[in-house]
């Protein structure tokens, strides 16, 4: 079971998650410090490691819209958070699967900051309110990548199979 650490509105952009001015920083070990940088208080909490691994960011519609910058995923992955959103923008979703950031599409999710959620195989249970919400399955095409643990090991295996 994990706690909702922030509840965000619709259309959270990659500029919000990882501002463009930090894009010269590429190493996944260095990107986490800039997560939600302009949300000063939340950024400070993330950096102070105030949240245990598996903590949940709840988003609305169109989470991760905008840029293809992968830093927007690596920055969240570095904090070991999960994202539950009503819908997720295409490139952000692909990047998340490729990097192994846990993202869950849950169109009817109702949760407030501080609620305890449990993510099962096909539902998100809000233990605080006692309500259950259906997940939308991630694109079937991407299952092989998830099963391999991300796109790098997946591609490596494909490359080895050719050699």
């Amino acid at each position: 079971m994990s706690k909702v650490i922030i509840k965000l509105e619709n259309d959270i952009s990659t500029d919000d998650i990882y501002p463009g001015r930090f894009m010269a920083t590429v190493l996944p070990t260095e990107t986490p410090q800039f997560a939600f940088f302009d949300r000063t208080e939340f950024n400070a909490q993330l950096k102070a490691k105030a949240f245990p691994a598996g903590s949940i960011i709840v988003g609305g519609e169109n989470f991760g819209c905008g840029s293809s910058r992968e830093q927007a995923c690596s920055t969240l992955k570095g904090h070991e958070v999960a994202v539950v959103a009503k819908s997720i923008s295409r490139i952000f979703l692909q990047n998340s699967i490729n990097l192994g950031l846990q993202v869950v599409i849950c169109p009817s999710i109702e949760a407030s900051e501080g609620d305890e959620l449990e993510i099962t195989a096909d539902q998100v249970l809000n233990k605080t309110t006692g309500k259950a919400f259906e997940q939308v399955k991630l694109p079937a095409a991407r299952k092989g990548i998830m099963d391999a643990g991300g796109l790098i090991p997946y591609t490596r295996a494909r490359l080895m199979a050719r050699a």
Partner: protein, 426 residues
């Protein structure tokens, strides 16, 4: 089949595909910019422990263009540039455009300009606005760095789900001072910022047929702002003309067109004959209003240029309005031609002179303030009016700033007054 279905079937070596099928198309062109610094890391990681030498699958199909932070704004960027140059040399990548005043520019201008993109191509780019190249009848889409590293390794795009297509039919002639940018802003307002998520926008109709490649790039460029995987204009006479006359392509240019019985998930019809100039208001690109609702809003910074509207016709339209006039006191105007070639042509045509005499600052080709890295960040609570493609909070480097998006003619007319101004009444 739709255009994208046909392209994917061909590239995957299949007779046909349908929406939802999983295919692995061969990549015709893989484009990256400064993000290549990260792609290189991921690429090298793929080969780790395999005993295989890390070499890209086909150096002739990779394009790398420095545009986001040129010239380098920090030692970190300069070092990334340096690393990428080393990789380019080691792998024999020829479609490389360094920080240069002769062959440099913004990736989404360089690719069409040098004939790197052709109708029917599958194009991947580590930039969300890679949708731009649908203007030449290619299926082009944005990917992250790891996906690009995978493509560099295997030469295919792995596990692509064939997207559904929305048909956009545009009719009517644009009224004076209204053009392609207003059309795409209007369409995004109509569809919303996620209305085309996971789908392709295929553009048809007399307005598109009569539109220049420049205008088509502007509308395909911003298709991603409705969430679209790609925007595409089926290749036609204008596509062939552009590639022959402007990109110098001499070989055959076969175009891909949709079947008469192609299946679309939705059809959107737009008549532009009564369209007013459109403005996307802060902080969302689908917060689109007709200009009369925001006329008089004071602006501190005007930006003309970028991959959306920095082409020669855009500069010509803006220069015609500014000629003999002055940028208002208290307003600063920045102009970013989309490529070195466009910059040089704008010089020859006198547009650069018009801008400078009016008080605008003409910058080298690059992405500049569009992504808030350098060259034109906003001060606290400042307002910008820009021909770029995004207005998310913080986009121009300051979370307290506000960005309005518009066409080049609206930007130019507003530069003279210092407030958002209807160019039809100037």
């Amino acid at each position: 089949m739709t255009v994208v279905e046909k392209i994917l079937a061909r590239a995957a070596g299949q007779a046909s595909v349908k929406v939802g099928d999983v295919v692995e198309p061969k990549v015709d062109l893989a484009m990256s910019h400064e993000n290549a610094a990260l792609v290189i890391n991921q690429f090298q990681e793929v080969f780790q422990g395999t005993g295989i030498e890390p070499k890209v699958w086909d150096p002739s199909r990779i394009a790398i263009i420095f545009d986001h932070r040129v010239p380098a704004e920090s030692p970190k960027t300069a070092t990334n540039h340096k690393k990428i140059r080393g990789f380019v040399a080691a792998n024999g990548i020829t479609k490389f455009h360094d920080v240069r005043g002769d062959v440099g520019g913004i990736c989404h201008q360089i690719l069409p300009e040098y004939g790197y993109v052709r109708p029917g191509f599958v194009v991947l780019g580590t930039d969300s606005h890679t949708t731009s190249h649908g203007a030449l009848g290619a299926f082009s889409f944005g990917v992250g760095a790891t996906e690009m590293a995978s493509a560099w390794s295997l030469g295919i795009a792995v596990n692509i789900e064939v997207p559904a297509t929305i048909k956009v039919v545009v009719k009517g002639a644009f009224p004076p001072m209204v053009g392609p940018k207003d059309l795409i802003l209007h369409l995004i307002g109509k569809l919303t910022a996620q209305g085309a998520n996971f789908k392709v926008l295929e553009f048809h109709g007399e307005t598109i047929r009569n539109m220049s490649t420049s205008g088509r790039i502007a509308i395909c460029n911003m298709s991603v702002e409705a969430g679209a995987t790609s925007g595409i204009v089926p290749g036609d006479e204008e596509t062939v003309r552009y590639l022959r006359e402007e990109a110098g392509v001499t070989e055959a240019i076969p175009c891909v067109t949709p079947d008469a019985d192609a299946t679309y998930v939705q059809t959107v019809e737009i008549d532009v004959s009564a369209l007013a100039p459109q403005i996307a208001c802060p902080h969302m690109v689908d917060n689109v209003k007709s200009i009369e609702h925001v006329v008089g809003t004071k602006v501190q910074q005007i930006v003309i240029g970028s991959c959306t509207n920095g082409r020669l016709d855009d500069l010509a339209d803006a220069a015609a309005i500014l000629r003999g006039k002055k940028v208002a006191e208290g307003t600063r105007m920045l102009v970013f031609p989309a490529s070195s070639k466009i910059f040089a042509k704008a010089l020859d045509m006198g547009y650069i002179h018009d801008f400078m005499k009016a008080g605008a600052v003409v910058m080298n080709s690059g992405c500049g303030p569009c992504l808030g890295v350098h060259e034109g960040a906003l001060g606290d609570n400042e307002v910008a009016l820009s021909t770029t493609n995004r207005n998310f909070k913080g986009r121009m480097g300051n979370p307290t700033g506000e960005v309005y998006l518009c066409s080049p003619v609206v930007a130019a007319a507003s530069a003279i007054t210092g407030v958002i101004t209807d160019p039809r009444k100037g």
